[in-house]
């Protein structure tokens, strides 16, 4: 740690995001490797294969490399390099909430002028464009056309409800309460199969997204972005009801020992026929239809006879979590690589390429691609994404995101695993997160 601290501390910076040119500079003809950094999951491998097959048709001297790290190390892998002012990647794929931290510290390029000149912004759902690229970003609502852009959509995502048609019927539950009672009955009728499976781990943003989702459908708010108030907002009556539903109604319907489950564990439970209803990120659901990984059937069709995919049930509201990521340009990449990165972005965001990306397993953000047969027919859960886009809600897109999400993760995980009373956990989240936001008005220091 001492060495890392020293490397990080030895760099200097001015704290503002450098601007990318409006026009793509002349591209090199020499061999060049364009490097991305992402976490290790199927879309990362799909992107590398897709880009090497398609982008290199026009740029044969370029090789695309998607470097992957475990999900839990993703933030650290990018930001420790940013801190050292030297990156071994050109295009960091940042979670929407990471943008604030990267922009404030001058780690990624301001691509506002480039976007104006090269990208058809009207082709996108404005909220998606804002979520994956704009800063400061409104928590919900539409894109501010005067705000700066620092990224463009790479992969859209949200949660899908995965349900066992053979156990609960073809019609998915429409409300959250209904979903809980259906899961309860299914669990009682099918010994060895748990009613629900969802993310509960205290790593990454697993448990936090689960709470945020329930908080959203029960009418709660994560904060008041205008006043930067969390304490009193998150833990209001709606927030407490959401925590009560999550811990006292949903948790008893999960498998014993599932308190550290995340994407892979939920998929495993579904594939092994151990869950009636599950929630997972759409972009991570492809493996569920692979007969080699599933006990639900020996063919994709057999599996699809048993599995259904639906948008999340609503309750007091119909909000769903925003997932997915945008692509950005490292401020520390060599100039030739930055130029190539801009060229790649321009190429990638074209309508026909977005449709090809959709067919290759990606989740696009352009409206024409989202509604195209290439996307809707590619996977049985793609329609869920298209239907969910108008219902999305993101978290706090602020530089303090990493600490805020850690506070929420650890406390929700504690409540789900009986280490803390639900109300205490929620109050602690609100109090500690408020402390982080309040302290961040000063520079450095603190952080315990």
């Amino acid at each position: 740690m001492l060495v890392a601290t020293t490397v990080a501390a030895c760099g200097g910076q001015d704290g503002s995001a450098p601007k990318a040119p409006a026009t793509i500079p002349e591209l090199t003809k020499d061999p060049l490797t364009l490097s991305f950094i992402w976490f290790d999951w199927p879309p990362a491998h799909a992107l590398e294969a897709f880009a090497n097959a398609e982008y290199t048709k026009g740029r044969p001297n370029v090789t695309i490399k998607v470097k992957t790290v475990p999900n839990a190390n993703w933030h650290d892998a990018m930001f420790t390099q940013f801190a050292a002012h030297k990156t071994d990647f050109d295009i960091p794929i940042l979670d929407s909430q990471h943008i604030g931290e990267a922009v404030t510290n001058g780690n990624i390029l301001d691509i506002t002028d480039f976007v104006k000149k090269n990208i058809d912004v009207k082709a996108y759902n404005p909220y998606l464009l804002a979520a994956y690229g704009q800063f400061p970003q409104a928590e919900t609502g539409k894109r501010d056309e005067n705000a700066s852009l620092y990224g463009l959509p790479l992969l859209g995502d949200t949660w899908t409800m995965i349900y066992r048609k053979d156990l609960i019927g073809d019609k998915p539950p429409q409300t959250w309460d209904q979903m809980i009672s259906v899961a309860e009955k299914c669990q009682a009728d099918n010994p060895g199969v748990s009613g629900l499976a969802f993310h509960q781990a205290n790593g990454s943003d697993a448990a936090a997204v689960t709470y945020n989702t329930v908080n959203g459908v029960y009418g709660g708010n994560l904060w008041d972005p205008k006043t930067r108030k969390i304490d009193g907002v998150l833990n209001d009556a709606a927030g407490q009801e959401a925590m009560d539903v999550l811990v006292n109604k949903m948790k008893p319907l999960t498998a014993k020992g599932s308190g550290n489950w995340f994407i892979d564990e939920v998929n495993a439970a579904v594939a092994q026929g151990k869950a009636c209803i599950a929630f997972n990120w759409i972009a991570a659901s492809g493996g569920l239809l692979d007969p080699k990984q599933s006990t639900l059937g020996t063919t994709r069709e057999q599996i699809l006879d048993k599995l259904g995919f639906a948008t999340l049930p609503s309750q007091k509201t119909n909000l769903v979590p925003l997932g997915g990521m945008g692509m950005h340009v490292s401020a520390y990449a060599p100039e030739a690589n930055q130029a190539e990165a801009l060229n790649f972005m321009k190429w990638f965001e074209q309508g026909d390429i977005q449709k090809k990306w959709a067919a290759a397993g990606g989740v696009p953000s352009r409206t024409d691609a989202l509604e195209s047969p290439e996307f809707l027919n590619a996977q049985p859960f793609n329609q869920v994404y298209t239907d969910s886009v108008p219902r999305m809600r993101d978290m706090w897109n602020v530089p303090e995101y990493a600490r805020l999400v850690d506070i929420e993760n650890t406390n929700v995980n504690a409540a789900l695993n009986g280490a803390k009373a639900p109300k205490d956990a929620l109050d602690d989240i609100a109090k500690q997160q408020q402390g982080v936001l309040n302290a961040s008005s000063g520079k450095g220091g603190g952080g315990l």
Partner: protein, 316 residues
Amino acid sequence: MSDSAPLTTDHPGQAASATPPAPGRSRRLSDRGLAVAFTSPALLLLLAMSVFPLLWALYLSFTDYSATRGGPAQFLWFENYTAILTSPQVHQRALTTLIYVVGAVALQTVLGFAIAYLISRRTHGRGLLTTLFLVPMMLSPVVVGLFWRFMLDAQFGVINSMLGSLGLGQVEWLTRQRTALISLILVDTWQWTPFIMLIALAGLTAVPKYLYEAASIDRASEWFQFRTITLPLVWPLLLIAVLFRAIEAFRLFDLVYILTSGGPGVSTETLSFHVYKVAFLGFNTGTASAYGILMVLIVIVLTQLYLRYLNKLKED
């Protein structure tokens, strides 16, 4: 060499001084010069990789510096240290670490010594047994963590499967507050008991045989021999092994990271894991540096006290 050159001389020093160095050749290095030449690369590496970062971290620990937010660091004097020493969160992690260190090291010492004692009494297969027992120690902690994560999985793990076949219920090893910390202690014990065993075995082998022979002639019981000969002679060596293990256990990070991520909640979050979060989640570099320095100081002070006790034991 010319024929006229003497092969030997009674006064080598004079001969050396009388013969001027050949043109174009460097002067011979003295012993001291050679020593400096050979050690300086290692010394420079040590300075660059250990001493400089330590001093730099010491400087940063008095500031509000953040590696990512940048800008000039403001001097805070002892504010970071005060915040850490008075933080209830740090106290909680310190207690967790203490329970872990005491639990793991005590268990490893008892088991390690017992295994070593049993092995030392065997005449055949001692080498093979020792080698087999050493295998866990040779594995990377990350591999051990992943291996045990699968073993301890409540749904699909081998341990629960075995418990099930014995008619016992499922245990949530990694997701319940008490069992999660116990699981960490057990996994660490699995990996590091061989270390204590190895040291204890060395001590047991070094006990002079004639002491036992004399005790046998006096018809001393096995227990008496163990209590008055074996234990007192092996004890100082065992305490050194305990010291090494305690220092290692105090800075436990990898097993926590892989097995529990500090959970459930923060109930298995050790001091090292917490300082990692402070350093890399919020990039509060100044605070993290102070935290690291305090941890080093604690280890140094406790080690000094322990070594004094060991010296006293030796004198007695």
